[in-house]
């Protein structure tokens, strides 16, 4: 057990999650990550759990292991998420189930188990991941936007429930960032989406990190229950 701060990041196998994990490792944090598959990230301060974030028992087991190995948890970035791009009338119920399982149930389970560890130290920072698809009411993203609306609501209520425990809960709402998550969306759709932002460009992983850093900062202890959308949405 070291004095380094410990952060849990979900969905670290690729994309933004991997970028965030690498960044916090470079900064000297101990990083605990997870994804459904194995990780290529090899670092002495990184440990990886292969799990489905909506698997309650697996999440509990992972967080108890974090408690044993690191004595607690300072921060959680609930990055893991899946998207669905389809007309609502053509979307199978199973898609809705799958998207909600990962985006909502997974976020809830990690918030709950992380808050238990953080509560014991009377300090914690949780950052959930929303999306601009919710306030933009994007056509074709009914299921994805609704799941992230649930994440925002969860963030707002949870923030009040755990405030007394010294834990803040906030959310970052990224614009499209060129990752696998948006890779399958037609270019013209992305261009039209970006045109609705105040600042017309793709987001970058650094943009997302910047908001996370603000929420994680010890000086942000009076900021909770907030969602910051990028790009001026």
């Amino acid at each position: 057990m070291s004095d380094a701060k410990t952060i849990a990041i979900t969905g670290t196998r690729k994309g933004i999650g991997l970028f965030l994990a690498e960044t916090f490792l470079e900064r000297g944090w101990t990083v605990v990550g997870c994804s459904r598959g194995a990780s290529d990230l090899d670092h002495r301060s990184y440990s990886h759990f292969e799990l489905d974030v909506s698997d309650e028992r697996a999440v509990v087991k992972m967080m108890q292991q974090v408690r044993r190995d690191h004595g607690g948890l300072d921060a959680l970035l609930n990055n893991a998420g899946i998207a669905s791009m389809n007309h609502a009338l053509l979307t199978p119920g199973s898609t809705m189930e799958r998207v909600f399982q990962t985006n909502v149930f997974g976020t809830f389970l990690f918030c709950r188990e992380a808050a238990k560890l953080m509560g014991r130290k009377k300090f914690g920072r949780i950052v959930n991941f929303a999306t601009v698809a919710t306030p933009l009411k994007l056509e074709g993203e009914a299921v994805y936007a609704a799941s992230k609306a649930a994440v925002v609501s969860l963030t707002e209520v949870l923030a009040r429930e755990v405030a007394e425990m010294g834990i803040t809960v906030n959310a970052v709402g990224p614009t499209p960032v060129p990752t696998d998550l948006v890779g399958a969306v037609p270019e013209e759709k992305m261009t039209a989406l970006i045109a609705r932002q105040a600042i017309n460009r793709y987001g970058t992983m650094e943009d997302v990190l910047n908001v996370c850093d603000f929420f994680l900062d010890e000086r942000s202890d009076f900021v909770t229950g907030q969602t910051i959308y990028l790009g001026g949405v």
Binding site: Q64, R67, R68, G119, E164, M165
Partner: protein, 104 residues
């Protein structure tokens, strides 16, 4: 294998002892297994209860190696709540352990 009631009772007592170390004299939690833990006559507010449940989960995990969640839909029920006393909480831990065992 499901945990035994004695193991659960030990975990519950250890959790209370740990919590009492950081609580002021008038906020101490009784270690009487049948005293009201949460409800009328208890010094615990909801955050206090959350802290007790979290501590019990951790002590069960450390004492038995079993990771469990002691969340319950019946939390607010006066008769059925597993949080009504320390004994009820220990019995609930045994019940959850049995369910986990059956599901494994």
């Amino acid at each position: 294998m499901a945990i035994e009631l004695e193991q659960a009772l030990t975990a519950v007592k250890n959790a209370v002892a740990e919590m009492n170390m950081s609580l002021e004299a008038d906020k101490q939690i009784s270690d009487d297994l049948d005293a009201v833990l949460f409800g009328d006559g208890s010094p615990l507010d909801s955050i206090g209860l959350v802290n007790v449940v979290m501590a019990v989960e951790a002590h069960v995990a450390d004492g038995t190696g079993e990771d469990m969640v002691l969340a319950s839909e019946a939390a607010m029920s006066r008769k059925r709540s597993p949080y009504r006393s320390l004994r009820a909480l220990a019995e609930y831990a045994v019940e959850v352990s049995g369910e986990n065992d059956a599901a494994a």
